[in-house]
């Protein structure tokens, strides 16, 4: 139980429109990620679904019921905030128990639910501590614990991992994905990090300036981005976007080719260039090449390839995997 439908939802503050009309369908049990650059309205959209921001127009339907004007508590959703928003003067136990207490459940039920949640999240040993005595990852788990005890129809995550260091972020990403498989509850997750989006999502919603650019599975978006923005945003390192005569040669205003779809050779190829910076990651090497005809191109090659700075090389793009975009930025369908 937890399908959410947005119908012509829009939001404006005074005269500035943050989100022009959006339609979106989220199915029960889906893990949906809103991704986009900062200031694109993804957090606002999430807060509108939560009920923390009013709608300027449109409807939000949760499980077939119109919840557009319902108070946040009555929508049956729980949210994990970026700052975790734990209650600092309450112990971990009291934090997790708070929504149940507000719901008026009896002590024994609360105790059981809190301990269950604590076991799922490995917090059983920390129940008496205060949030100030916990590490970042533990606080994150408490915030999630507080969200799951209510057994909501859907979880909303507002950039929950942005305050953690890289290693911990990787761990928590796995834990949240695991949790989703365990609970099978709808989750909406906001992030500006496309890696999080690609690794966790069933469905990615790419937002730009309040508009939905594309909705699809991670691999859909990777394989067939609908426009230049999505092409440039999804994938790491970024897709090479080539403009000018080289693009025109392929009947496009912009030509896109991913770094992993370019072959590099010291002897022959389509584009001649010189090696700039090489980034050695061990498993892969990213080589930034300044080409004569196509401008600056990033190439992803295996970790054994070495190239001197300034060395002449030849690049060959994998033609079937090139993306062509028209002057309006939209993808041109392959014929």
């Amino acid at each position: 139980m937890g399908s959410i439908t947005l119908e012509k939802v829009s939001k404006s503050f005074g005269t500035t429109t943050v989100i022009p009309e959006i339609d979106l369908e989220i199915d029960n049990g889906e893990f949906v990620v809103f991704v986009g650059p900062s200031g694109c309205g993804k957090s606002t959209l999430l807060r509108m679904i939560a009920g923390l921001e009013d709608l300027s127009a449109g409807r939000i339907v949760i499980d077939g019921k119109d919840m557009s004007n319902e108070a946040p508590a009555h929508r049956g959703l729980s949210m994990v905030f970026q700052s975790y928003a734990l209650y600092p003067h309450m112990s971990v136990y009291q934090n997790i128990a708070f929504p149940l207490k507000m719901d008026g459940q009896d002590k024994a039920t609360i105790d059981k639910k809190v301990r269950d949640a604590a076991n799922i999240l490995n917090l059983a040993n920390y129940l008496d501590r205060r949030p100030g005595q916990l590490s970042g990852g533990q606080r994150q788990r408490v915030a999630i614990g507080r969200a799951i005890v209510r057994q909501p129809k859907a979880f909303l995550f507002d950039e929950p991992l942005s305050n953690l260091d890289a290693a911990l972020r990787g761990n928590m990403r796995l834990e949240i994905s695991d949790l989703h498989h365990q609970l099978q509850t709808t989750m909406i997750y906001v992030t500006h990090d496309q890696v999080e989006a690609m690794t966790m999502a069933d469905k990615i919603v790419v937002l730009n300036a309040g508009r939905i650019e594309q909705v699809g599975s991670p691999l859909d978006l990777y394989r067939s981005p609908r426009n230049v923005f999505v092409a440039g945003f999804i994938g790491s390192p970024r897709m090479n976007l080539i403009e000018g005569p080289e693009a025109a040669r392929h009947d496009a205003a912009t030509l896109g080719v991913r770094p992993e779809h370019v072959k590099i050779s010291t002897t022959e190829g389509a584009w001649k260039g010189t090696v700039g910076v090489s980034e050695h990651l061990g498993s892969d090497t990213f080589i930034h090449v300044q080409t004569e005809s196509a401008g600056k191109i990033t190439v992803r090659t295996d970790g054994d390839f070495t190239a001197e700075h300034g060395q002449p090389v030849y690049l060959t793009p994998d033609a079937p995997r090139m993306h062509r975009f028209g002057a309006d930025g939209q993808a041109i369908q392959r014929t």
Partner: protein, 290 residues
């Protein structure tokens, strides 16, 4: 070596100020202590002699002392009650965005800048006066018998005036504390299904607890020695109904010219203040541990 020398120099440089401040405090205290053991009446100059603890005996067995002690505690407690509760409510109101917020905030702070004698006179003559006062006029407008505040409710009137003066202070401290409350916490509580009152009780109040402690501590220090308001309005009366310890000592020294007795009273007041401070510091320490 350099740091040792620097430290020594620093101490040397600081010492004049520290010594001056120390003397400033210790000399009056020592003299008061000394006078409290003397028979020292201004009407009988030249007859000063050591009489032991007789002054203390008289002061502590004086029935007026216990009344004054009770009045002091009532005055402090009543004022604290009004200012803390009123301060929280005002701070909650002023925290909301509304038109003319800046001006209203300024006006709320204003009473703090009015000196005690002036505000007491204004209250006495313009507000609480049974004939010319604003309150009397309001009462008559609605057909009630006007209250003669200083005759019927003398101590409560004093509490009201002092509370009016200290309300801005409490409001200011509590408002700044309120503004530092994390908005996401409130939103999280909202999503957790907490209503307005639950949010206030479980989030706002615990958040304010430290600020409330500070307000209580600072106000208690100043309220123990309320004097001007009593002198200007009731002169401790009717009878001794509004006499607090400070005013009692004033009566001993400057109305009965008994410097020895007043000094003994002063020392008693210092001891009492320290007892109160002891409990307050413990309260604060407990609150700061969190």
């Amino acid at each position: 070596m350099a740091t040792l020398q620097t430290r020594a120099t620093a101490r040397l440089m600081m010492s004049p100020a520290v010594i001056l401040l120390f003397l400033w405090m210790i000399v009056p205290l020592a003299m008061t202590l000394y006078f409290s053991f003397l028979r020292y009446n201004l009407l009988m100059p030249g007859t000063e002699e050591y009489i032991g603890v007789v002054n203390y005996q008289y002061f502590l067995t004086d029935p007026a002392f216990f009344t004054a002690l009770g009045n002091t505690l009532m005055l402090v407690g009543g004022t604290l009650l009004i200012t803390v509760i009123g301060g929280i409510l005002l701070a909650l109101v002023l925290d909301q965005p509304f038109f003319g917020q800046g001006i209203v905030r300024l006006l709320v702070i204003a009473p703090f800048f009015v000196m005690p004698t002036v505000s007491a006179l204004v209250w006495k003559n313009m507000l609480m006066h049974p004939v010319n006062g604003l309150f009397a006029w309001i009462a008559r407008t609605f057909g009630f018998q006007p209250i003669d505040w200083f005759a019927q409710l003398p101590l409560f009137s004093i509490i009201l005036i002092v509370a009016w003066q200290w309300l801005p202070f409490a409001t200011l401290i509590l408002l700044t504390a309120l503004q530092s409350l994390d908005g996401e916490q409130i939103e999280a509580a909202e999503m957790d299904g907490a209503g307005v009152f639950s949010r206030f009780y479980y989030l706002v109040l615990p958040h304010l607890s430290r600020a409330i402690t500070v307000v209580i501590l600072i106000q208690t220090i100043f309220l123990l020695s309320v004097f001007a308001e009593i002198l200007v309005t009731t002169n401790g009366g009717p009878g001794i109904q509004t006499t607090n310890i400070t005013y009692l000592i004033y009566m001993q020294a400057l109305l009965q010219f008994d410097v020895g007795g007043a000094s003994a009273g002063g020392i008693v007041a210092v001891v009492l203040a320290n007892i109160v401070a002891f409990f307050l510091i413990r309260l604060i320490g407990k609150n700061l541990e969190r």
